[in-house]
Amino acid sequence: MITRTANLDISFSDEQAMILDSAKDFCRDKSDITTVRSLLKSETGYKNDVWAEMIALGWTGLALPEQYGGSGMGVGATIPLVESMGRYLLCTPFITSTIAAQAILRGGTNQQKSRWLPSIVEGAVASMALLDNEDWGATQIRCTLTPKDGGFVLEGKKLQVNDAAVADLFLVLASSNGLPTLVVVEAKALPEGAISNKTLVDETKRAANVNFSGVTIKADAILANAAEALQDLRLIGALLAASEATGTSAAALDTLVDYLTTRKQFGRLIGSYQALKHPTVDILLQMDSARTLIYHAATLISDASLNKDTEIACRMAKAQATDALLFAGDRAVQFHGGMGFTYDCNAMLYIRRAQWAQHQYGDAQHHRKLLAPLLLD
């Protein structure tokens, strides 16, 4: 007989509560909807001064140990920040860099950590170059790392590398003798034309395909424990993506509620119609479930290698958050009626974010597929 013992730990310290409050205030102040829209066609998708301020506030070091210049609070502490960024569609390389830093922290030698982590705390942008397949579920790695002239050479192109155009470092997933490896490549080592920007459905985000073919690598740029770090950073990526998506679900909900309480049709505020009211309540419930699962995962996560309960928590959070935002964005457009079909309606931002966000570190079905053996066998 199956007996599951579900882990039901959830806690939130006063310190985290303070971070959440100040992060929310910061993101609201820096990223009103006019600012968000003004950045849609910009090159990098963010304002340098806002990013500089986040670095100055110590956010880029929050998750990293003190010995590398961080404040040692662990990656769980970034969840309230990331949620707030999602809430106000505030885009910077923060999420991208936070995930990549965790790869170095978990997969690097002490020497490798000392070499790269302090610069990330100071604002260097690091980005994961993982995808070279159609999907997160694909196990095959096309990019290869092979020995050459006493060093190594990369061969292959990586897809949708986040914030690639502003990245200082790339962590490239490559296959070496059939085994996965993570390699640190500095942006300046890339040949001219290696980065080709993509047109994303979410215009607030930036990503590019990056061709690493011919880039030569020294042995000390290969992370020592890639296999373990990979599993963990994929889960951390999923959790951060879930947090950002959940903040955006709340934003979609707020925008929708605003419309439902001001727009009149047939002589009544449209929010009084149950056909609109009940699905809107559903958005709230779905978003809140995602939030519950995210803070549960944030409670479990630590600098140590992630255990089974934490894996379950991260995957559940991403599956729930993805579905919640897809629903919220979809209904936000529909319930705005004719307005919802226009580019001027802010629901546009949320429905597009939903399509992009679901594919960050695996969609809901991908995570449920991987949850099945953890929960059922």
């Binding site: 959830i10 006063d14 509620v257 439902l260 809107t280 479930s289 699962l293 599956a319 099945a372």
Partner: protein
């Protein structure tokens, strides 16, 4: 109304005492859990539909009480155990885990009893408490009325003072155990002129044997019985049956709701509901086969089960998150107000899915020798509607959340 200090369980308890107690209850459950009676036992007290089931449950509750595992924290002189509440909580936890039958006199054990102990007179305690515990006196509840659902402000049943008596006229519906009950906690209107409709209500401990009270059983969706409609036609009850003062009925009724948290809040304890959780569904998916393979290996089934497990996990975690104020500041009261809607709707869909998974035998019903688990899931699914409809339908719940949490306009 103040918390009664003799119930608060302030005595200090040492660890050895607790572990001895735990050993004792586990052992007692092992030796005293009744054998399968050959008929389906109720999952809730709303499903007692025959004398056979009633006798069985009465005997069981008596047994639990005489062993000292019911009303453990209630005062000794009235039939309780006079112990700290913690012991009852432990006993309840163990009985729930072992899936022993329910202690069915729920309105007495969880509503009327704690109310009487907290606020009743010595006479009331003498008269009612022991019979609640040993299941001699079954209690029912008369709040809901036909056509008013759970809107208590609209109660029409009248109670008019006439000398030493109140004369009751009107009717109540969804009276669980109505045809077996000796007493009813009754909410009736004593002042039709009250400015606010909640102010005109009074709360009574009414004897169901009074002349002029009659019940008519309601056949449920499941085909079984368990509720009655209850009629009052110039029914006369002693004026002393009133709890508190005239006009305070609504407040007292609301006060009784706090005991829903179980022994921790002052209720007598005992298992009041046999919960059906995802583990039960997983076990069924393991047992049911398709082409010689457990259904649990089918990819589509697995995906559906994982969806339910995510929902269940969020539900249980939500019950914990609601106690962390910093995680509830956004959309205040969202979690607190949505608990019933989430929980009851989840279980409705989950129980229905069990019937789908059963394959062709899913079409069978209680009484058929090939029904899976004797039709347990069929009955559980249909009975679940008592929770998505009773106490405010899911649709009313959604209105409440939409209006109070999101600020959407009323319709």
């Amino acid at each position: 109304m103040t918390e009664n200090s003799q119930l608060a369980g302030q005595q200090s308890i040492n660890g050895a005492e607790l572990s001895d107690f735990l050993k004792g209850i586990i052992d007692w459950i092992k030796h005293n859990t009744p054998a399968d009676p050959g008929f389906l036992l109720p999952q809730t007290f709303m499903e007692v539909g025959s004398e056979q089931v009633l006798d069985f449950l009465r005997e069981w509750q008596y047994k639990v009480w005489s062993a000292g595992y019911l009303g453990m924290a209630w005062p000794k002189q009235y039939g309780g155990g006079g112990m700290p509440r913690l012991f009852q909580q432990i006993a309840d936890e163990e009985m729930k885990r072992a899936r022993v039958p329910i202690c069915f006199n729920v309105i007495g054990l969880g509503w009327a009893g704690p109310l009487i102990i907290d606020t009743g007179t010595d006479f009331e305690k003498e008269t009612y408490i022991k019979g609640i515990l040993n299941a001699e006196d079954i209690w029912c509840q008369g709040f809901s009325e036909p056509n008013h659902g759970s809107d208590l402000g609209s109660i029409q049943t009248r109670a008019e003072r006439d000398g030493d008596e109140y004369v009751i006229n009107g009717s109540k519906i969804w009276t669980t155990l109505g045809n077996y009950a000796k007493y009813m906690i009754l909410l009736a209107r004593t002042d039709a002129q009250a400015e606010r409709r909640y102010n005109g209500l009074s709360f009574f401990l009414a004897p169901m044997g009074a002349n002029g009270i009659s019940t008519s059983p309601i056949q449920k969706l499941t085909g079984e019985y368990g509720f009655t409609e209850t009629f009052f036609t110039d029914a006369r009850i002693p004026a002393s049956c009133i709890m508190g003062e005239e006009g305070h009925g609504w407040r007292i009724a609301m006060h009784t709701l706090q005991y829903e948290r179980g022994a921790e809040a002052g209720a007598a304890g005992g298992v009041s509901i046999l919960s059906i959780v995802m583990d039960d569904l997983l076990k069924m998916a393991q047992d049911v086969e398709r082409d010689g393979q457990p259904l649990l290996q089918d990819p589509i089934t697995r995906d559906n089960l994982v969806k339910f497990l995510i929902e269940e996990q969020a539900l249980y975690l939500g019950e914990r998150r609601v106690k962390i104020p910093a995680l509830c500041r956004d959309y205040p009261n969202s979690l607190a107000l949505s608990g019933k809607l989430r929980g009851t709707e989840f279980f409705r869909r989950m129980r229905q899915y069990a019937l789908t998974l059963q394959g062709a035998p899913g079409a069978l019903y209680v009484g058929d020798d090939q029904a899976v688990d004797g039709g347990f899931w069929q009955r559980a699914y249909l009975n679940n509607f008592s929770t998505t409809i009773g106490g405010g339908t899911s649709q009313v719940q959604a209105n409440i959340i939409g209006e109070h949490v999101l600020g959407l306009p009323k319709d």
